[in-house]
Amino acid sequence: MRKVETNDLQICATPEITVKKKKVLKRKDLIGWAIMLPTLILFSFFIWEPLLENIKLSLYQANGIRLVKFVGLDNYFTVFAHPDFWAALKNTFSYIGWSLVIGFFAPILAAILISETIHFKGLFRVGIYFPNIMPGLATVIMWGFLFKPGGTGTLNILLGKIGVDPQLWLTNPGWTIPLIVMSMTWKSAGATALIYLAGISSINPELYEAATIDGASVLQRIRYITLPKLFSLGKTMFILQIIAVFQILYEPMVMTNGGPNNASISIMQLVYNFAFKDYNFPVAAALSVIVCIILAVLSVLYFKLTSNKEG
């Protein structure tokens, strides 16, 4: 074993055939780190450093991208004093609430339905995943068209066929967030449904057979065998979903531009506005840090849940 390590590519240092284990380890470490280095530089540049840079940036006053002077927590106070921040925060809870109502149950339902059918199962699996491969921006623009108000809007045409009056869709402030969540669910539910489907197919079939012998009806079997299994998966999916909801950006930006009257502005959209409309990078960074802290807390929760499951 040790011989192998020394042989390997190194110019045969003959006197050192009996290399001490320590030295062998060192060479392995060195090569390992050397191979990792390029990727680590990329991770630092694109992920880790920006995270820290964000915190630093948020504590300064800046002129464009040039830092001018240290201002402590002033930028945070600016964020808190900004009326849009409270609108966005309120919306975020609304987004979370609606994605619990629509986005959380839709994939569970779809997964149960697809697992309980036998015809075209493969087609359903592929079909439900299809919206996932659509580019996010294209999806959002597409749904913007589908939600066109007036008699020639696509959804209104379809509704008209069953005798429903044309709706205002996104221009109705009470509807914007639920509709945005609906279009997000359309895009992402398939991936989650596939995970639930994998969960269902990992249930021991004998459980169902035993339950049948005990006289459980089909619905009872779903209620007492399928659902409990999905529940533990669902907890982690739920947190992942909240994490995703905090990052909503394209949807309100493209579909409603945050309107009508800030009714759908999201936190990340506010970050974008601070940074790339007002060019006030420090305030944008301060808000990013706030989002980051919230997400970090949620992530710890997620880790706790998933590690409990394994243990």
């Binding site: 390997d8 390992g32 990329l42 991770f43 920006p50 015809h119 491969i133 790339f276 970090a296």
Partner: protein
């Protein structure tokens, strides 16, 4: 017959022996119909984009119909030429190819070190990577943009390629796969005098074709769909990708609705083709990544 096929069903709550009762018969038909409805909901919007983009602008504005009056491909060709889509297709392709190469190389190498070489201190890096998995990159977009400007990489494809080389999710996918590879093969390669990089290129990568495929497909779709960073880096440079251009058209109001729809259609055709070819790898990859975390 519809119900006979249930003989093959060996998992889930409904089984062939349930089918005898009328209630279950109705229930399984209802379930099947609901599945069809789900399928229609999933597919209809994209189909509609293609249907509606055959309309001309007055037809689109005035007629309350789903189907266009004619199917004239010339309209597509005109929009393609007017909006100079070739250039943006090429730009997007450049981003996709560069991004995919970076993605496989850099994430693969890191995963290789974490899974096989395991030098002293690799656990720290693994921890950091796991954390990056959960802190979404969009939250530090402001600082990243500032950084890219500081090193003078704005207006260049380079950051858009390299950003795919730092993807925690792909690293974990690779790492899980590499850990399952037979250790004997790696030992044998060492005996034959292969260096660490050679082992990666000659042993690990060829054995890992399935996972490489998954990461390639994921990266291709992600790179094609990526919008925010390309927009911030490339907007106004003639290097815009399709997504950047879509957003620009959408916010400028200079492009009319049907041209816009055709542009959307152009932007979703490549992913649809890719998905049709690799549907199995894609749907399998979707669950592999999530369940193994």
């Amino acid at each position: 017959m519809f119900f006979n096929k249930y003989k093959e069903k060996s998992d889930g709550a409904i089984r062939y022996y349930d089918i005898k009762s009328l209630r279950t018969k109705i229930l399984s038909i209802a379930i099947f119909i609901l599945c069809l409805l789900i399928l229609i909901v999933c597919l209809f919007p994209s189909v509609w984009v293609f249907l509606a983009s055959f309309k001309d602008i007055s037809e689109f504005r005035k007629d309350a119909t789903i189907l266009p009056s004619t199917f004239n491909f010339q309209k597509y060709v005109d929009t393609w030429n007017n909006l100079k889509f070739v250039r943006y297709y090429i730009n997007s392709t450049i981003v996709v190819i560069g991004g995919t190469l970076c993605s496989v190389t850099f994430n693969g190498l890191l995963a290789y070190v974490l899974a096989i070489i395991k030098p002293k201190g690799h656990k720290i890096i693994l921890g950091l990577v796991m954390w990056s998995l959960l802190i979404p990159a969009t939250t530090s977009i402001v600082a990243l943009f500032v950084n890219i400007n500081k090193v003078g990489l704005n207006g260049s494809f380079l950051p858009l390629w390299l950003v795919f080389g730092a993807n925690a999710f792909y690293v974990i996918l690779f790492k899980n796969f590499f850990e399952g590879l037979p250790k004997e093969l790696i030992e044998a390669a060492k005996l034959d005098g292969c260096g660490e990089l050679q082992i990666f290129l000659r042993v690990i990568l060829p054995l890992s074709r399935p996972i490489v495929m998954v990461v390639v497909i994921f990266t291709v779709t992600a790179a094609w769909s990526d919008f925010l960073l390309p927009y911030l880096v490339l907007n106004g440079t003639q290097k815009e990708t399709i997504m950047v251009k879509l957003f620009a058209y959408h916010s400028s109001n200079k492009v009319n609705a049907v041209d816009m729809l055709r542009a959307v259609a152009f932007s979703i055709i490549p992913p649809i083709i890719l998905f049709t070819i690799f549907q199995k790898q894609i749907t399998d990859g979707a669950t592999a990544g999530a369940v193994k975390e």
